[in-house]
Structure formats: C-alpha cells, structure tokens
C-alpha cells in the first residue's frame, strides 16, 4: 500500500530526473538539428546545448536555471484512498532545496516569493480517475521564457485550417529568438478557450517522434513543422536551419460557432517525466528508463 510519504519521495525523485535529463526523443531531435547546421553561429549554439546536457547529466544538476513551475497530470486508480494532492505539494516543497529547483512561484500581484514553489494553485494538478491499479504522476517543468510566448486565438469557423496555420505562423514569428529555440510547439485545436490552452500544453507530453493518431492531423503536424523550419530563425534566434524541433497537435470537439486555437511554446529543454507507483511499492519512470 502506497503512503503519502511514498508519494512525496517519488515526486522528489521524479522532479530530479525531469530537470536533469531530457527525454530521449528530445535529445535525438537536438542531435539531428546539430548535425543539420552548417554555419558557425548556430553550430556553436547547438554545441553549447549538447555540452550542457552532458554536463547536467554528469553532475546530476538541473540543465537550466529556470526549473519552471510544476504542472502535474495525475491518473488515480479508483478507490485510491490516500491524499495524493498533499503528497505532491509536499514533494515539490521538499524538492526545491533537495534537487534543487529555483524558487519560481510568486504571488501574481504582490510578487512575493514564498521560496518553496508552493502557493495558491501551484503546483497545478490535472486529475483523471480510472485506468490501471497504479498511480501515474506526470510532470512538466515549464520555464517562463517560452511560456510567455504562448498564445490563444478564438477564430471563427470560416477561418478554418488556413486560419489555424496563419495563427501558428504568427505565433512563431512573434516569438522569434525569445523562447530559446529550437522550440517545440504544442498546438490545441477546439474545445473552448480554457480547454484549448490545456490541449496545447498536453500536446507537449507526447514524444516528438510520435505523430497524431488521426492521419489528417498527423499530416498537418508534419506540414507545419517543415514549413516553419524554412523561416531561418534558428537556434537562439541567431539564424539557422532548425527553428522548431517538434510540433504536436491535440484536438477536442468544440461548439459549432467556435474555432479556438492555442499554441503553447516550449524551449529546447522540453522537460517532462512520469512515475508509476504500483501497489507493491514498485516505481517505474517510463520517460527516463534506459537513460
């Protein structure tokens, strides 16, 4: 039987792995980008990124000083019976000095920093009940440089797919070198304004190498990715061949009179991690296994 302390321990370990090591699909995409560059400046930027990833792994140190805010996605078995929420919150509180994470969470108006990444609504937890007999906790540590470039548009249905492409393009042009490109784009289509933004962020949880199960959506993902990489913004906005490392779309049905589109912009350090806690106490870290 899993206890609240087990949750805390698992969350600390999950956060450590997540901020120290990138998922292998992201690392592979960066390697490919590195091989593709020819000019001196983008080559140097990607070399610094690759060197940094290696150093972070060797020193068990967060790869970026912006360890983000912690956004969780939790799937609970039915009849879970323990306070997973408190376990996660205390886990974040402990991880802040133990990993360490930078104390990033502040009051939005007074800007006071409690110093432990915990405050009203933070960490933010998305809940789902059901599924298997294990507790699954996924975390995204989302930095502000890229998050600040994220956008929502409430399009009219008549704007259609062209309107969606136009909005994704304008978001990337507006972001330029600010979000630490090569960037990853999570695109949400449909739902309502709030659902659409959530979809855009959730899209970032899918491995970059995996296309959407709907072939039409998969085609749109590839088309947008290839076209956007002709822009030449390049690593760190200093020019080059890779501006977008990956692009994932998620959709939800929406009102017949609406077409919400959201883009969640993610830096090259696309950090995500998952822990599965089995009833016998066994832990699995599927995103970080084998690495």
């Amino acid at each position: 039987m899993v206890s609240e302390t087990d949750i805390q321990d698992a969350v600390v370990e999950l956060l450590r792995k997540t901020v120290v090591k990138l998922p292998s699909d992201v690392e592979k995409a960066l390697e490919r980008a590195s091989d593709a560059e020819v000019d001196e400046v983008p080559k140097m930027q990607l070399k610094a990124i690759m060197d940094n990833i290696k150093l972070a792994g060797e020193g068990n140190t967060p790869m970026c000083q912006d360890t983000g805010v912690t956004i969780f996605y939790v799937t609970l078995p039915r009849n879970c019976g323990i306070d997973v929420e408190r376990g996660i919150i205390e886990g974040v509180r402990r991880a802040t000095p133990e990993v360490p994470l930078r104390p990033n969470a502040v009051h939005p108006i007074t800007r006071k920093n409690p110093g432990d990444n915990v405050g009203d609504g933070m960490p933010y937890i998305n809940w789902k009940v059901g599924g298997d007999d294990f507790i699954e906790i996924t975390v995204m540590t989302k930095g502000a440089g890229s998050e600040n470039m994220s956008q929502l548009a409430m399009l009219t249905p008549s704007q259609g797919v062209k309107g969606i492409k136009e909005f994704v393009l304008s978001t990337v042009l507006r972001a330029g070198g600010n979000p630490c490109p090569p960037m990853v784009l999570g695109v949400g289509i449909g739902g309502s304004s709030d659902i659409c933004m959530k979809l855009a962020k959730q899209a970032l949880l899918r491995p970059l190498s995996e296309r959407h199960k709907d072939p039409e959506v998969a085609k749109l993902e590839t088309e947008l990715l290839e076209a956007l990489n002709l822009l030449g913004i390049g690593p760190m906005g200093l020019g080059g061949k890779t501006t977008v490392l990956g692009l994932n779309i998620e959709y939800a049905y929406c009102h017949t009179a609406s077409l919400p589109v959201a883009v969640n912009v993610q830096c090259w350090a696309a950090r995500r991690g998952t822990v599965r806690m089995h009833p016998d106490g066994r832990l699995e870290f599927p995103v970080h296994e084998g690495g």
């Binding site: 150093l55 360490p100 088309e223």
Partner: protein
C-alpha cells in the same frame, strides 16, 4: 574570431567589437533582471546609493539557482533569461549606469541598440538554457545584494573566468545580429506561406 575581455570593460575595447565575434569574459559579473532594473532606477530617482556600481561592468540577465555553502554561496545553474523583458527599462539603465556589456538571450529592441551605440555598451548572447555550461565559467560568488527580491531577482556578484562562449549580438556600431536574422526571416516568409497554402 575569438577575443578575451576583462571587467571593468574599457570603452575602447567595447567599441572595437563587431557582431558575430566570439568572446570569453573574465572578472566581475552582476546578475540583474526585471526587479533589479526597476529597483535601480527607483533608487536613482530617490537619490539613494546603489549597493553595486554598474559602470563599465557586465550585467547578466540571469536568475541563477544558488546553493548556500557555509557562509558563502555556490552557483548551481546560471543561464540567461529572456532579455526582451527588459526592453522598456534598458535604454534608461544604460544611460544612467553605463554598463559596458549586457549578457542575455534573444536580443533587444531598437531603443536599446541606440543606447548601446551612444554609451559604448555591447550585447553578448549566451546560449539559453545552457545553465550548467555557463556556471562552469563562474569561479566564485562574492556576495549578493537585494536578496529580499528573491533568489532569481537578486543581484548576485559573480567572479568569472573564461565565461562563454558569448556571441556579440549587438555592437556599438548599431548593428544587431537579431535584426539581420529578422530581415532574413522576412525574406523567407513568402516561401513559408506558399508552402502552407496561405496567401
């Protein structure tokens, strides 16, 4: 071309730099981002003395992760933050405090480019997110001021050695690598639109 510079940065050294050059920096670096800019300008308005002197110094747009070791501090990770957030305050900051270099990522807007030209300051780009690599170039921490602003927003006084590689992103001749890239992106945009079936 690779050059080494030491703080305090002489105006002639700074004015000899050109966009695209690679720099390694030695000496003192001060971190400062949103709150430091706001605070420093408020202090000036009230006629209060600043705890540090930014003249000819290197200002690093950075909110590091620091670890307390005994009485001192150690840098864990110290990459750059997005410089464009400081766009509205930087021209005034450069005019009033006269730093020799600003280190950051993503570039800055025209009023800052103009102020850099006028007062002899360059923008040095360091790879965003490469925070462990950057921390390797920081040998020790001399202290911290305005810690009450929170760990990311305080002024950390860092002693750098071989800090880099840094790319001159904006020089004192009014040139910006980001503006160059921007014009290229504008040139490329029609082809991207065509590919996407947009007019």
């Amino acid at each position: 071309m690779t050059k080494r510079l030491k703080t305090p940065l002489s105006e002639s050294d700074v004015r000899s730099l050109n966009v695209g050059e690679t720099i390694y920096l030695d000496g003192t670096i001060y971190t400062g981002r949103d709150e430091v800019h706001i605070h420093a300008l408020e202090y000036l308005e009230k006629g209060k003395d600043l705890p540090v002197d930014f003249a000819r110094a290197a200002l690093f747009h950075c909110g590091p992760i620091m670890r307390k070791v005994g009485e001192g501090w150690e840098v864990v990770a110290a990459g750059p933050t997005t410089s464009s957030r400081m766009n509205s305050l930087e021209p005034q900051f450069i005019e009033k405090f006269r730093p020799g270099a600003i280190i950051g990522k993503g570039g800055m807007s025209q009023p800052t480019i103009d102020a850099m030209k006028e007062y002899g300051c360059v923008y040095l780009a360091i790879t965003g997110g490469a925070a462990v690599l950057a921390a390797r170039g920081i040998k020790s921490v001399s202290g911290v001021e305005w810690y009450e602003l929170g760990m990311p927003e305080a002024v950390w006084i860092l002693n750098a050695e071989d800090f880099g590689p840094l790319t001159v992103g904006i020089d004192t001749h009014g040139r910006s690598l980001y503006a160059d890239v921007n014009s290229k992106v504008k040139e490329n945009e029609p082809a991207v639109r065509e590919r996407l079936g947009l007019k």
